[in-house]
């Protein structure tokens, strides 16, 4: 039973289903109750599930994650919202030193089924601290799992799977795609959470991306097709773990790889992918793995973000450079 819905609505429906299915699931964050969140992702949930399950919290991110850890220790499965990417840092300590390590410190006797939702990325003309992509800062931390859906269906199902996970999951939501609609089949059987998907098959080069950049890469592939080039687009979906097997399989076919993300290129997930794929596919590669992403500069003011973010031409430029080898 497929239904067309926006990505934000798909997450809303997924949260609703989780709240309905498991009394231990609680949703918490700033303005998630009556307002339904600043992006309305939690719209109507408090009305239907009550204030004890959809909790408006004090404005304190460390407190949100820290109390979620305590609730998890008590047997709950909290889904917490950080209002914007740039506001997660007060909670960074709790996420890195406590949430990520608790299971290991307890020698496996404690589980941390906490989902941290973070609307991330730019392209919406926002003010400072509202457009960042900090996923690499979390991917470096063992104990965390990191995912980012690119479309409504994945948003729905990956949220279901993240909530069911006994590990902490940082769920990066591509905020510029919140209003993009897609088919969601709520009776489908989803694939594994951390597996990549080939969303477009091609033979000349692989574009690997996740979250907001998948749609861009599909547009790039369309444009390249008009010039007679066949690009494969791989939606990674998961940043920790990364499905290197899928990247490898694709690169063994296409022999060229360009990784695209909004986050700064320097020490970004693209760097890790480039290093690993170079190791795995050294004799298959016809060109070095190239990366397209943000610059080593603070996220710029909104009037400059189009120059900072990867766009069609910048990715095509990288494609040309790769194919020139």
């Amino acid at each position: 039973m497929a239904e067309k819905m926006a990505l934000a609505k798909a997450i809303n429906e997924s949260l609703r289903r989780a709240l309905d299915a498991d009394p231990k699931v609680v949703v918490m964050g700033e303005d998630v109750g009556k307002l339904g969140g600043v992006f309305r992702v939690t719209d109507g949930l408090q009305k239907d599930f009550g204030e004890s399950r959809v909790i408006d919290t004090p404005l304190a991110e460390s407190g949100i994650v820290g109390t979620a850890i305590g609730l998890a220790l008590r047997g709950y499965r909290p889904v917490v919202e950080i209002q914007f990417d740039g506001f997660v840092f007060p909670a960074y300590d709790q996420i890195v030193t406590q949430l990520a390590k608790m299971h290991a410190r307890a020698l496996g006797k404690v589980k941390m089924p906490v989902v941290v939702r973070i609307p991330y990325g730019g392209g919406i003309g926002a003010v400072e601290h509202h457009s960042e992509s900090p996923e690499a800062l979390f991917a470096h931390v063992a104990g965390l799992k990191i995912v980012s859906p690119s479309n409504a269906s994945d948003a729905y199902w990956m949220m279901q799977q993240a909530i069911q996970s006994d590990d902490p999951v940082i769920f990066f939501e591509p905020k510029r795609r919140y209003w993009d609609k897609g088919e969601v089949d709520i009776e489908a059987i989803p694939g594994p959470l951390h597996k990549a998907k080939v969303v477009r098959e091609g033979t000349d080069l692989t574009l690997a991306a996740y979250g907001p950049m998948v749609k861009l890469c599909q547009e790039v592939a369309d444009a390249a097709a008009e010039e007679g080039r066949s690009l494969e687009v791989l939606d990674l979906r998961s940043v920790s773990p990364i499905d290197f097997d899928a990247v490898q399989a694709s690169v063994e076919r296409t022999r060229r790889l360009v990784v695209v993300h909004e986050a700064p290129v320097f020490f970004g997930s693209g760097a890790e992918i480039a290093a690993r794929i170079t190791e795995r596919c050294f004799y298959h590669l016809e060109a070095p793995v190239l990366r397209v992403g943000g610059y080593h500069a603070p996220y710029p003011p909104a009037r400059l973000e189009e120059s900072y973010l990867p766009d069609l031409d910048r990715v095509l430029d990288a494609v040309d450079r790769s194919l020139a080898y």
Binding site: T57, P58, G70, A104, V110, A142
Partner: protein, 401 residues
Amino acid sequence: MTVESTAARTPRRSAGNKAGTTGTKRTTSTAKKAAGAGKSAEPALVQLLTPEGKRVKNAEFDKYVADVTAEDLRGLYRDMVLTRRFDAEATALQRQGELGLWASLLGQEAAQIGSGRALRDDDYVFPTYREHGVAWCRGVDPTNLLGMFRGVNNGGWDPNSNNFHLYTIVIGSQTLHATGYAMGITKDGADSAVIAYFGDGASSQGDVAEAFTFSAVYNAPVVFFCQNNQWAISEPTEKQSRVPLYQRAQGYGFPGVRVDGNDVLANLAVTKWALERARAGEGPTLVEAFTYRMGAHTTSDDPTRYRTDDERLAWEAKDPILRLRRYLEAVNHADEGFFAELETESEALGKRVREAVRAMPDPDHFAIFENVYADGHALVDEERAQFAAYQASFADEDGGK
């Protein structure tokens, strides 16, 4: 009481009417006096046993220890003596190279045993890394505490088997976990309570402030038990606060009380009171146990660089164990046989701990990769396999070691 209620309930009794307390609803004359007195004299604290071992009456808190028998008192004494003995053994084991580090609780036995013995089995404890006395009260095997200090694990016990969470080294983090856990108790409709331990240094951490805020807003059944041992490594409490720490509670809308941290009976009474408030749906309480860290911060610390012997001597006169012994002897609650037997038990404990630590094996190399995730992770699997292959590459040279 559900989380729907965002306003703290009115306390059943105005906590502000007691000496050394601040109330939730209004600034009482006592609290004003206490705050104003900060410059000239320390505010009053709840004390039931003087340093000389004399039992003093306290109209507010006597009732919380009214049922304490002579046997109970001997039990408290035994707990403190054995905890101190264990602690001394651990310090010695560090000096002998058996432990990498030890954080001694010397001087804080009354605060920990008094509060620890106020708890029910179904209550939950969130400790710092110095709560060896509380761990003792919870029934955690003392040798389990030593694993992390020896470097064989990062927390060697199952938190749920004694409702005693793992030691937390990042200062103040656990106060938020305690608050979240307490919020869960409320949701479950249970009448258990949570106690969060922290110190004077931690009182400056943002997480502690946020824990106060969250617990007050959700009226969470949590007792914040601050052992003000006067020193955060080398920094005195004046570097953390302009007001006595218990007064911090007032700004958050719940009561705070200062108790003589070296008086085990007073700590028992005040913690029982705070736990009862929590169980009755009256929300959080801040207890400031005014005590003294008689040893170094840890075995890596050198307190001679920042404090004087005079100060230590003054506090030694207020020793928590000595004062209870004086009381037990004065009222004939314990005879020489009791003390002699305890001395034997104490030495046996030291021996048991010593032998257990020396026999504690290093973990298997592959423990690095264990329990990183509950549901597994492809990269961990890959790196474990690489590590195994690397280890196996030595097999021919030294027999697979």
